[in-house]
């Protein structure tokens, strides 16, 4: 069993059950997209519940939505879009095999992810202080002099906040997982695990990050921007 040409020369990152790097990459990418499709359906269930209750209790949902801080929400949207940019630049750096730029952009992504979570924590703190968190101490008056057609029903407003905390909470958990993921990637990238011919983990983690970004792109108008113009 001397060195046959097949086993002797191949990319060290190529697993032996794939015929070449392109096939291995396609398989990994397909698997990642399959996972993201399950994530679409997972969040889809929550979006569906939200839409049904928003239709049923629009008056209370719009009053509760207006109690959210739109400036913090919009800032967080911008931060998340910025982190998507650093992710795509990290993938770009990996493609060119530039280790320093790769590590820099990965760290920038982690930083922006943490900024997002920090702002989210401030928002949650406000909601706890205002007793807008669903539970025995829940109390939602609606703003004074608000132009609501009917008085706010506490239970229906509470339902909005249940969905708000459920959806933004699940989103935040995905962000925390993403930050953990990118921390590992940074370490491995620093050690030089990724080359211009093998950076699939960077690319697939990037897909995950962008997906979480897209979820927020829908959460922002749905949760923060109901009937703002009153």
């Amino acid at each position: 069993m001397h060195d046959s040409p097949i086993t002797a020369e191949h990319n060290p990152a190529l697993r032996h059950h794939f015929s070449d790097m392109a096939q291995q990459k396609n398989a990994a990418s397909l698997g990642m997209w399959l996972f993201l499709v399950t994530e679409i359906m997972f969040f889809g269930g929550m979006f569906c519940a939200y839409l049904i209750y928003r239709l049923a209790f629009f008056n209370d949902f719009s009053a509760a939505s207006r109690s959210l801080d739109i400036r913090l929400g919009a800032t967080n949207t911008a931060v998340l879009i910025g982190s998507s940019l650093t992710v795509v630049l990290a993938v770009n750096a990996a493609q060119s095999g530039n280790r320093k730029r790769l590590v820099t952009y990965l760290l920038a992504t982690i930083f922006l992810g943490c900024v997002f979570l920090g702002i989210k924590a401030v928002e949650y703190k406000q909601k706890f202080d205002e007793h807008h968190v669903p539970g025995p101490t829940f109390d939602f008056e609606g703003e004074k002099g608000a132009a609501e057609e009917r008085p706010v029903v506490q239970g229906h407003a509470q339902l909005f906040f249940v969905l708000y905390f459920l959806m933004t909470g699940m989103h935040a958990i995905h962000m925390i997982i993403g930050v953990g993921l990118f921390s590992v990637l940074t370490l491995l990238a620093w050690k030089g695990h990724y080359t211009s011919s093998y950076y699939t983990p960077i690319e697939n983690s990037g897909l995950y990050w962008h997906f979480v970004d897209i979820i927020w792109i829908y959460l922002f108008p749905l949760l923060y921007l109901i009937n703002r113009h009153h």
């Binding site: 569906c48 879009i81 998507s84 770009n92 113009h229």
Partner: protein
């Protein structure tokens, strides 16, 4: 997926477009457009999601047909979930 290296300037352009759209969606929410408000809000969100998916996630230019099938099937089932549920709940005259 084959190599699809776009320039950094291109990514910056997409990023700026996304920021402008975010500002637009927050701004237009304060204008009373009646039933059009949620339509515009979701329309802008969908444009943003498309920009992210096509250019940041590199769906545009992917050579892999299976990946496209998976993405489209995911969206199809999401539409099935939302569409059929709302077709029920939104048309209940008695509730």
């Amino acid at each position: 997926m084959s190599e699809h290296k776009a320039s950094i300037r291109f990514y910056l352009g997409i990023f700026l477009t996304l920021l402008v759209l975010t500002g637009a969606t927050a701004g237009v929410a304060y204008v009373d457009l009646g039933p059009l408000n949620p339509v515009i809000a979701l329309g802008i969100a969908t444009i943003k999601a498309l920009l992210v998916a096509l250019f940041f996630m590199h769906v545009y230019g992917t050579s892999e047909r299976m990946t496209r099938v998976v993405i489209v099937s995911g969206l199809f089932f999401l539409m099935l979930l939302l569409g059929l549920s709302l077709a029920d709940y939104a048309t209940r005259a008695w509730s």
